[in-house]
Structure formats: structure tokens, C-alpha cells
């Protein structure tokens, strides 16, 4: 043990007051990274096998952590059984292998950048939930979330960036791709994610009807990606899900129900 607690307990009552030690009495001890639960999508009937492993198991493996030092708590172990991605590695997030868990370093350094590559006219929508449970959406007409002073997520055409300096303020996000033509098919293309360490994750967007849900009269959205902060690490999952329904319902299916809507496809600007 060190600093304030030892100092204050060990100081004799008769010791003179030290004006120069004021900061020590107010020193904040290090805290472990917040451990949010990993919420599963509310409607995900076609969840791949990897999904159950996202359930939290807070018990550290026996013998895996050093003895706790008073005032310092070992960080909880990351979820077991999820693949990582190496620096500079290129990985396809297919329906058979849709999940990647970043390290805490990859989760906190720089930005996570995404870009939609497609030959058709399409837009990217990113819904997010912050650690305080507030939710929001960034889209072409509202490209900064939650605000433009210090956005956690920002969008510029087909590109979006998650500011990982604010990873502790973020709980989760979902990326949706929508065709400009309401009557058009689902967007065909690739969503490419890049980490600061140049790891490249590619999510193919399949225009076929596989995984399609909803009424035929509605625009086809592709829920391309979800991200959850779990034990301080970002777990990314290619959803490969087609949602033939209004954006409001597509996002609600993933638990984004804290949004206000001007109409079924238009979020009320915050």
C-alpha cells in the first residue's frame, strides 16, 4: 500500500500539518475499467453459435491473476473463446466466423474507422448507446454523436469513426447500411473496419434474401455490425442481417428503443 491511506494512518497525531501534501489526501485511486453487461440483440433469430459466449462470466479463471494489491484491482479477464485480430492482420468476418474481440489497447488507442464500399447509392447509419445509457444516431444530416464539440461517433459520407479516446463513455453501437432507393434491393458491397494498428476487418454485404425479415413494402436495411464494450474491450460482430422494415423497428430489434422518431425512418435530431 502506498500514498494517502498509509500516510494518513501512519502519521502521528502530533505531526505538524504539511500544506504541501494536500493533493495526496485527495488522490483518486485507480479504478478498474467499467464492466458493462453485453446486451444481446433483442431480435436476432439467426445468431451464430459464437453469440452465447458473449454472456458475461465475471469469475476470473483460477490462478490467472496475481494477488490483489491493496488499492489496485486486477482488471477482469477478457471474454474467453473469442478470436482476436493481430496488428496489420486482414480478417473476413463471415457468417461462420462473425466475431472479433479487440485487446484493451486496440480498444483505447486512436479511432475505429469504418468505410462502406459499394457501387450503389447508399447511406450509413450508426446508432450508439453511451455508458450513461443515452442513445443517439449519426447519419448524413446529423453526422456527430452526441455532439460536434467532442463526438464519440462521427460520420462523413460512407465513412464513420468511433473515437476510442472516449471508449469508456461508450457502451455499444450498431452500423446499418441502407439503399438510397426505398424500393431497391439490399446493398451489395463490403464494410471495412480499420484499427489504429492497421488491422482490417471486412464484412461482406450480401444482397441476397438470406436472413431477411419484415414486410416487403419497406426499405431493406442491412444491419452490418454491432460493437459492445465488454470488460474494457470492444467485441465486434458482423450481423449479416437484413431488416425489411423501417429504421425505427430495425434499431429497436437491437435494443435501441431510447430514441425519438419524427417518422419511422427519421430520428428526431437531438
Amino acid at each position: 500500500m502506498s500514498t494517502a491511506s498509509t500516510l494518513l494512518r501512519g502519521a502521528p497525531d502530533t505531526a505538524p500539518v504539511r500544506d504541501d501534501l494536500g493533493f495526496l489526501r485527495r488522490r483518486a485511486r485507480p479504478r478498474a475499467v467499467a464492466v458493462p453487461e453485453a446486451p444481446a440483440p433483442a431480435a436476432a433469430p439467426d445468431l451464430p453459435v459464437a453469440a452465447p459466449s458473449l454472456a458475461l462470466d465475471l469469475a476470473p479463471p483460477a490462478g490467472a491473476t496475481p494477488p490483489a494489491r491493496p488499492g489496485r484491482t486486477p482488471l477482469p479477464p477478457l471474454l474467453r473463446g473469442l478470436p482476436g485480430v493481430g496488428q496489420g492482420e486482414r480478417r473476413l468476418l463471415s457468417a461462420d466466423a462473425p466475431v472479433v474481440q479487440l485487446t484493451r489497447v486496440q480498444t483505447g488507442v486512436g479511432g475505429l474507422r469504418g468505410e462502406l464500399h459499394t457501387a450503389v447509392d447508399a447511406s450509413v447509419v450508426v446508432a450508439y448507446e453511451l455508458a450513461d445509457r443515452t442513445q443517439g444516431v449519426v447519419r448524413d444530416s446529423q453526422p456527430y454523436g452526441p455532439d460536434d464539440r467532442r463526438p464519440v461517433v462521427h460520420l462523413a459520407g460512407p465513412r464513420f469513426t468511433v473515437d476510442l479516446r472516449q471508449a469508456r463513455a461508450l457502451r455499444r453501437f450498431v452500423v446499418v447500411v441502407r439503399p438510397a432507393d426505398p424500393a431497391g434491393p439490399a446493398v451489395e458491397g463490403v464494410l471495412v473496419l480499420t484499427t489504429t494498428g492497421s488491422s482490417r476487418l471486412e464484412i461482406p454485404l450480401d444482397p441476397s434474401d438470406a436472413g431477411r425479415t419484415g414486410a416487403a413494402a419497406d426499405r431493406t436495411s442491412t444491419v452490418a455490425l454491432t460493437g459492445h464494450l465488454v470488460r474494457g474491450a470492444l467485441v465486434l460482430r458482423a450481423e449479416h442481417a437484413r431488416q425489411v422494415r423501417p429504421l425505427r423497428d430495425a434499431l429497436a430489434a437491437y435494443g435501441y428503443r431510447g430514441l425519438s422518431w419524427r417518422d419511422a425512418d427519421t430520428v428526431l435530431a437531438g
Partner: protein, 187 residues
């Protein structure tokens, strides 16, 4: 007051034989540039005798607030004159760790680009964690910054059974990616 210059070092445990806990802090003046202020990050890299990071788990920063051996921790709310601080429990540092590199970098995940050259002032200092007494403060490093977005502020390293601290002040135009490459830290 002039401080310890780049390249200069001080024998910490020779000066203070009972030294057990160090606080390494940094203070900067971003001149009101919130995009600069908000995105500066103080971090530590635990390195082995080869000068390379011992593991990704031993990069200590806001998202990984304590090293796997619990010897180095980021302090949540730096107080006193510092903007950010790290705490190093010297007795707990594993023998395999030869030096602890203290880095200040700009996290470039936001839409606005900034550089360390915009800082008006930047110093690193070392305190005795048990008493709070200042041991050494660097010179103002900011005048030496330009387009860099990361800087190795200093190093705490083993020397003849004790510990020394050296002011480094080496900037990296490639930012934290350049620092990570230099020290073998996987990103």
C-alpha cells in the same frame, strides 16, 4: 525555474534511499484548444532488457489502468499541479521489467487534427509517492515540439540495483503508432 534538461537523469533511489513509490506526472498548457486538451493521453510501457514491451497487457493508460503485475497504475484524477499522473510501486515491478517508458500522445480518433507543437508548455515531473514531495521536474519540453503527435517524456529504469529517471523528450511524428513500433507494443 529551469528544470532537468532532455537527456539528463537523476538517481532516484540514491537520492532517496527509502523510495518505494513514484508518481510520474505531466502538466501541459493547451492554450484553450479543447481538441488538444481532450485527446492527450499519458501512458506507460513496461519494457524488458531488450527495450521492448513485455506484453500488450503492460501498456498502462486510461483503458487499461493497471499493469498485469499491479506495479504501475494510471491515477484517475491527477491532482496538484499535474494534468495526468501514473503511480509506480518500485518494489512490485517484476525483475523482467528493466525500464518504464512514460509517453504522452494525442489520440487521433476525433475529426480534428492537432499536434504537440500547439502546446504552450509541457513538463514531466517525479514525486515521492509516500510523501508527495517533488523529486525532479523537467525543463519545458514544448518548445522542442513540432508536427509530432507523441512524445516519450521520460524513462524510469534500473541502474546498479536502484532506479533512475531520465528526461527523454523524444517526439514521434507517427504518433503512438511510431512509439508502439519503437517499443514493440502490439496495437
Amino acid at each position: 525555474m529551469s528544470g532537468l534538461m532532455r537527456g539528463a537523469n537523476v538517481a532516484l533511489t540514491k537520492e532517496i534511499p527509502g523510495l518505494r513509490t513514484l508518481v510520474v506526472g505531466t502538466a501541459w498548457d493547451a492554450g484553450g484548444e479543447h481538441a488538444l486538451d481532450d485527446n492527450l493521453v499519458l501512458a506507460a510501457i513496461l519494457c524488458g532488457p531488450d527495450g521492448r514491451a513485455t506484453s500488450a497487457e503492460d501498456f498502462v493508460f486510461f483503458q487499461q489502468v493497471v499493469s498485469s503485475d499491479l506495479s504501475v497504475a494510471a491515477v484517475d484524477a491527477a491532482l496538484g499541479d499535474d494534468t495526468e499522473q501514473l503511480e509506480i510501486d518500485l518494489d512490485q515491478v517484476p525483475a523482467a521489467v528493466e525500464r518504464i517508458v512514460v509517453v504522452l500522445y494525442l489520440s487521433e480518433g476525433g475529426p480534428r487534427r492537432r499536434t504537440l507543437g500547439q502546446l504552450r508548455r509541457c513538463v514531466v515531473r517525479v514525486l515521492d509517492g509516500a510523501t508527495g514531495a517533488g523529486i525532479v521536474t523537467s525543463e519545458d519540453l514544448a518548445p522542442g515540439f513540432g508536427p509530432e503527435t507523441a512524445v516519450v517524456l521520460g524513462e524510469v529504469y534500473r541502474h546498479r540495483g536502484g532506479w533512475k529517471f531520465k528526461v527523454v523528450g523524444q517526439g514521434y511524428a507517427a504518433g503512438i503508432v511510431g512509439v508502439a513500433e519503437q517499443y514493440g507494443l502490439p496495437l
